[in-house]
């Protein structure tokens, strides 16, 4: 940091760093720390999935050991989906469970000394866009075109689409606010921890552990829950009572 914004001039570091660069159709593209962290998290999750698959493949009637853990996790995740989705829940067990585990591991990877991938807008925006696509896919699947048009002109009658642009903007704002919420929460935790470690140096011995518990574990878990809950609420709003048109 060339300008002494933080007067101590300490080595405060919470930015995304490039690890390697390569040329992609003439553009200079960087492999950053975010990619590396996502890769590590992916490897952990894939390893766990393979182990879980092995355990379930030779499952017994009375579960024991690792099978217990896997069943507990799956039941908890399914329970989270059951609440807001209602009858449509079985279709979304896979997707919501996946993004829940991914975001949770991303958020708490700050505990392991990694820079959380969700503190990079390039990771949270695709998650928001996925939610956006799911919302509108289910809207087209479950609602009549006339109902969609009526909704889009909502406070005014459908033959007077004056309100249409505002409703379109409010639809587009959904993925942006979803992704920014997750991004800013995790980023603020990351910055806070970087400031504490950078500015206090040797004074920061044991007590930042408490802050880690708050910023990484508590805040990360809450934001994961909120992201999945909002995704499910938006989708189930579009599905309605679940009858195909």
């Amino acid at each position: 940091m060339e300008h002494g914004i933080l007067l101590s001039g300490a080595d405060i570091d919470f930015m995304v760093h490039g690890v390697a660069k390569y040329s992609f159709f003439g553009h200079e593209v960087w492999i950053t720390t975010t990619h590396v962290c996502v890769l590590i998290i992916m490897l952990i999750l894939v390893g766990f999935a393979i182990a879980a698959n092995r355990a379930i493949a030779k499952a017994s009637e009375v579960p024991s050991g690792f099978q217990n853990v896997v069943e507990l996790i799956v039941e908890k995740l399914d329970g989270i989906v059951d609440g807001p989705m209602g009858k449509a829940a079985p279709k979304f067990y896979n997707y919501i469970g996946t993004i829940f585990i991914f975001i949770l591991f991303s958020n708490i990877s700050g505990l392991l000394g990694l820079r959380p991938p969700t503190a990079d807008y390039g990771v949270t925006l695709p998650l928001g866009v996925l939610t956006f696509v799911l919302i509108h896919f289910n809207k087209i699947k479950y609602q009549k075109p006339m109902t969609i048009w009526k909704d889009m002109c909502s406070p005014l009658p459908p033959w007077l689409p004056v309100w249409l642009p505002i409703n379109v903007i409010s639809n587009i704002a959904v993925p942006i606010s979803l992704s920014l919420r997750l991004f800013a929460n995790v980023l603020s935790g990351t910055v806070m921890m970087a400031l504490i470690y950078g500015l206090l140096k040797w004074i920061a011995l044991a007590w930042p552990a408490a802050l880690h518990v708050y910023f990484d574990l508590f805040s990360g878990a809450i934001q994961t829950y909120v992201f999945c809950m909002l995704t499910m609420t938006y989708i189930s709003n579009e599905i309605g009572d679940g009858t195909r048109r």
Partner: protein, 84 residues
């Protein structure tokens, strides 16, 4: 008119400080949500789980505006978009 880059940095820092004032709103809002949740649990302790999850969801949504202020402050401080 040409400005000294230190002057621009100083003004950016002041702007960042002003942007974080946005934190007042979510603070009040989350406090109101938590207060009403406490009242709800007091009235109906059986519904504690539902009340908690609803409260956390509402608080997280209310937090967004404060986080926007924080983001603006971070951009001003660390990305320095105003420097030539």
């Amino acid at each position: 008119m040409e400005f000294n880059s230190n002057f621009i940095l100083g003004c950016s820092a002041i702007g960042a400080g002003l942007a974080v004032i946005a934190g007042i709103g979510p603070g009040v809002g989350q406090g109101i949500a938590a207060g009403h949740a406490a009242a709800a649990v007091g009235r109906n302790p059986g519904a504690k789980g539902d009340v908690m999850s609803t409260m956390l969801l509402g608080q997280a949504v209310a937090e967004t505006t404060g986080l926007y202020g924080l983001l603006v402050a971070m951009l001003l401080m660390f990305v320095k978009p105003l420097l030539p």
